[in-house]
Amino acid sequence: MRRKVILYVTKAVLTYIIVLFTSFTIVFFFLRLIPGDPVTRFVSLMMRRFGYEAAPETYTATVEEFKRVFGLDKDIFTQYLCFLRELLRFNLGPSFLNFPTPSQVLIVRALPWSIGLLGMATVLAWIIGVIAGTLVAWVRGTKLDHVLFTIALCMSQIPYYLMALFLVLGLAYTFAVFPARGAYSPTLSPRLDLQFILSLIRHGTLPALSLILVSAFGWLISTRSVAITIIGEDYLRLARAKGLKRMRILSRYVLRNALLPQVTGLAMSLGFIVNGFYLVEWIFSYPGVGTLLALALGVLDYNTIQGIILLSMFTVLTANLLMDLLYPLVDPRCLHEV
């Protein structure tokens, strides 16, 4: 048994490392081999922005100097080795957006906003969806179930960013209930007091809501189908025959069993946090990773772009690994398939 556990864990971790390494390598070569010269574009952009006219020689010299700073003067394999070495030191290289500041600083600054907002929203949506899905499964086959299920089918298809647009339009512009932009009121400075926290919540409501309104319905659909198969099981008939109260059957028997597959789903979508919701942040100018990516794409800041892509791959793959490692606790049978 113990040998099997060790074998299973080694296999999962090894696969994780190989996949992570391969995808990082692919991303690196992919971004380097795409045609287009970001450094030249960056230099001419800077010159235009500061109204700086340069003689052609000075211009070429500047471009060469910047290429040296960004490590682009060497051949691609040396660049690759450099990239790997610097990655281990957690260094992504200087950014264009905010020139000498390294990209990782920009990303780390944006990360807590994304995790706070989207993590909270994902978990809330999950809780609402799982409970609602169990309740809907309980009344399966009725008119209410049919109507709710169809509504859920339609709502879960709306992309987050379109939902965000509707919410901004309705609750920020038509009725000014919530602010339309930013993460906190510009008159406040970040500190730990009631006023600031209230402002955070007020600004976070609409972005969070646009995510919850869509994905809660998605969870509802998947929980409903899991719960319906559970309701059909014999032990539930026994529970009912024993005369257990309806609430007790729902919470102890149905919800608890439906929870297991849904927990793995939650872990997966938490891994996708950095990936899925770029546009919601962009629409609300929320200072998270999504807005940073949009800004970086605008000036072709490839160190930052590459960093964000690597970060989202890392989170997704790591969430996947954690799920693989935790899965035997839920279902020990998978240990025997190694």
């Binding site: 795409i34 086959g141 899925g276 490839y302 772009i305 989202s312």
Partner: protein, 302 residues
Amino acid sequence: MKSKISDIVLSIVDGIQRSLKTLRSSTRLTIGSILLAIILILGIFEPLVNSYRLGGRSPVELGLYERALPPSFEHPLGTDMLGRDILALVLVGLRYSLLVGAIAGGIATLIGTVIGLLAGYIGGKIDAVLNSITNGVLILPTLPLLMAIVAYVRMNMVLISITLAIFTWPWSARTIRAQVLSLKERPYIELAKVTNLNDIEIVFKEIFVGLIPYIMVGLSFSVIGCIIAETSLRMIGLGPAEIPTLGFILGWAMTYGALAQGYYTLVLAPAILLILLFISLNLINVGLDEVFNPRLKKITGL
């Protein structure tokens, strides 16, 4: 000769009747198909409608009308800050969105079907490799990669469609592979092997027919995926302005602060059209599942 023609006519009528019956057997399929048909007609006849309404002038021409007109009979959605009719703009956007969705979704489904067939039918090492590639593309966060490509490379209609397809084919590949795996084990395939049909004949004559509903489901998933991805790119201002899709209109409206200035219809109309399109395709998917997978109905009690 005469009987042959009447036979053909009869069989066509029969075919139409049967597909109408399939359509009517599921309410969701019916509603979805009607919605999709309306949207497709709006998109396909856009050039006609626009040239009639605008008297032959281009809907993107600046200053064609007075600026910021509120919705009226002449301009059902009003005009924008550059003096263009918003309804005309949105219809153009719809046509381009549908075009990109159809081309990209079609390519994605083609790639997915071929790879799913190969992996499922041949099996063994080839299946292992193709399947891990499929799962790899499915699990990796593709949107930022897609955004980076579109930001660096100058795109046209075909190029952007191919790029979108490269990231969306795994959905249909997975469905097709699973279906091929199950079809392969059916007795009639064994029979076909015994009667000396070769692999290519078996795949095209026997298996392909059973795949058609799944290819359709894969197609509508791919179209949804491609249009969602395309719209996301365009909303942050990436991609060529020569292809003014609904996403481009939304992105443009956002950068010009259309909401803050009160041009609500400029944002609402494209968003509602896109949502209706996604809902109709999804209803069709669920409906097809209900029709072709009646067991599901019993199990889940839909």
